[in-house]
Symmetry: none
Subunit: 416 residues, 2 copies
């Protein structure tokens, strides 16, 4: 346990475009006195999570932010979702992110999220947990778990399985559920693709006539009568964070994917009370948890807020601005409570999510470092077009934590 | 076919040095109201085509600008020249860029370009096309074609050939034509080097007594009595542009090398009327062609102007400044005619060509992106020392098109 502390605060999808909010980005439009105070006292710059002109996923971006090369450790998001929900993933498990979704009789997707279903998931889960088995495949185990709303994960466990298969989510509506396909011709790959397609059929059979769905239909809501699978992946061979950096770290988040990434790199994880991974999340409780974990002995705390990205995916500029302002209040708490004599902190995002487009894009995101050893610059406002004037310049994802840990004199020397 | 459009406008050898024009570069000295307007409304920065401190060729720089790693796909310029002239290149053909040049009786080079010969090339070509054959080499075909002025290309077709050989152009005068040498000891390599040396001798025999050369000598002009060969290369294994990016593109140029690079990456090519690849080129016709191609359905247009580089190679600062001002008027046409709601555009160069040195150097070049989604910065003037203040920072060649295509939301996500 070091006296020194380090904090990585990531607002998902933080970056924006001038078309977001009357010529400004949401971050530029938001009222952020506390973030501006950090910018004013810190060193500022721009982050390219995966390098310039590379459009990041949240999973690959976070692996990169933790110092791992996604080209080496990333095969798909399923493993992080499953792990993030709390499923005990074993070596060689093939994991999927799942969606409860709505299909018609021809298996055409009508709603990829079954109306972001808020209730009845227990019944749906039971039906799948009890009924999903394919007896003709020897030693095959199918494990299903739900997360929030329509979200869940599924694990295939057994021999002769592979993650070299495509997903079944068409990522749009009014087209059929996609057939899972083998990416190459190997026997196990083709076998696994077949299993996934049988699971898709079987899940529809199990779900379509459930009372909870009949209820939904009666109330004019889209039934959760299908299961979409994507992000097939097996647990990566990752050097644990503690071995890589020699630090005790904790990940504080609510979104399953982020808890999962944190777990897979060996961080302890916390999901504070009231933290939902959505717009209504009690972000302040994440700041409180971080302060407590650092006081209790952790060297490093990762704080993740998802609402910024959700609002942008929903094309809602006002909501994104509000989440940023809520984040700002949580940052105010950190300013008050952290031991600034011994702490260095990063505030940034994992990628840009513009309002009009509503999905991730490749533009860089503001990043700032705050703490007593940083070379304070003249930037006094966080934002896409103010942070870029800072003295940090442009940094790539994998450089982010080494630059932070350097301020705490935690780095090993290369050479002598 | 997308509603959205992308334009890459490259002025060859655009960059300069303060020694070019009374302490300014030609770009800084030029009157460029339209480029300045783009700079003012766009995001600006500097481009290192092959990375800082790497001195680019025009071929390698363009491959990099199109997103290809020259280390992987580049073996020499011959293939691009041959292809650019319109020769039908086949797999395993060994292609050369050729120069008509002037030698004395000892084969000492007196003028590498035979006085930039403007007439009589047809007769020279006939003599070579009819007479260049080496019967002792079974199944060897020698194919020759001229381009503009002294320029041309030669193809060796047949078995047991290699491009692992040196060129015969000494790149200076008053020294002998170089012997072509094998780069390694393999049999086919040595065989090919021998063939090239025999072609050099034979070409001199065929050319030296032609009437067209006697005429030239009588008029005090250097005779085109020798053929210099360089840039030996075979067609590269390149992923076509359309597969790489999923876009329909067109290359608009006049210089053979640029048309050749565009063809080799699978772009359609256009050489508009009046476009010469030289100082007298009707650049405006390239801008018109680009607007038309985009209106007719292409997603992407590459516009190339060569005159800036030619003027700099000729140490002519006034001429380079004039070409830049002519480019500026073509840019004015683009400003008027492009559909700016749906278009993002790059203006930049492929390398620096300073006036005093008269050849390519490694300094970065101004680059700007213009379109509705860019984070507009405070730069309002294009130039080596104004663009560098922009918010784009420094970009490398291979990042250039991904950054452009990101603004059009054309990139695949890496991760999810």
């Amino acid at each position: 346990m070091s006296q020194k502390k380090a904090v990585l605060f990531i607002a998902d999808g933080l970056g924006g475009r001038p078309s977001d909010y009357n010529g400004k980005t949401c971050l530029e439009a938001a009222d952020t006195p506390n973030l501006d105070r950090l910018a004013d006292r810190g060193i500022n710059g721009m982050l390219n999570p995966l390098g310039p002109g590379v459009r990041p996923g949240s999973d690959t971006a976070h692996l990169s932010l933790f110092g791992y090369d996604p080209e080496e450790v990333y095969s798909g998001r399923g493993i992080f979702e499953a792990s993030g929900i709390g499923m005990k993933v074993q070596k060689n498990d093939v994991c999927f992110r799942t969606n409860f979704s709505t299909v018609d009789k021809e298996m055409e997707v009508k709603d990829r999220r079954a109306g972001r279903i808020q209730e009845g998931q227990e019944k749906l889960k039971e039906a799948l947990q009890d009924g999903l088995e394919l007896n003709r495949y020897k030693d095959l185990e199918i494990i299903f778990e739900t997360s929030t709303q329509h979200r869940g994960a599924l694990i295939l466990r057994g021999s002769k399985l592979s993650d070299k298969i495509t997903g079944t989510d068409p990522h749009k509506t009014d087209v059929k559920v996609k057939k899972c396909k083998a990416v190459n011709g190997s026997k196990n790959v083709k076998r696994t693709a077949k299993i996934v397609n049988k699971i898709t059929d079987r899940a529809h059979e199990l779900l379509k006539d459930l009372d909870v769905n009949k209820d939904r239909e009666e109330r004019g809501k889209p039934p959760a009568n299908a299961l979409l699978l994507r992000g097939a992946s097996t647990p990566p061979d990752i050097e644990p964070f503690q071995e890589k950096y020699g630090l005790e770290g904790v990940g504080i988040a609510a979104g399953a994917l982020y808890l999962g990434v944190a777990k897979q790199i060996g961080l302890e994880t916390r999901k504070p009370e009231g933290a939902t991974g959505d717009l209504d999340s009690k972000i302040i409780n994440k700041a409180k948890a971080a302060v407590k974990e650092l006081e209790d002995g952790k060297d490093f705390a990762f704080i993740h807020v998802k609402g910024t990205d959700n609002a942008a995916h929903d094309h809602d500029a006002e909501a994104k601005k509000r989440v940023i302002e809520k984040i700002d209040r949580a940052v105010g708490y950190l300013i008050d409570k952290l031991d600034w004599k011994n702490t260095h902190l990063i505030f940034s995002g994992d990628h840009t999510t513009p309002i009009v487009y509503g999905d991730h894009t490749a533009e860089p995101i503001p990043i700032l470092y705050r703490g007593r050893e940083v070379r304070k610059d003249w930037v006094d406002r966080i934002g896409e077009r103010s942070s870029v004037k800072g003295d940090l310049g442009f940094v790539n994802g994998q450089e982010v934590l080494p630059i932070l840990f350097n301020y705490n004199n935690w780095l090993e020397k290369y050479g002598s």
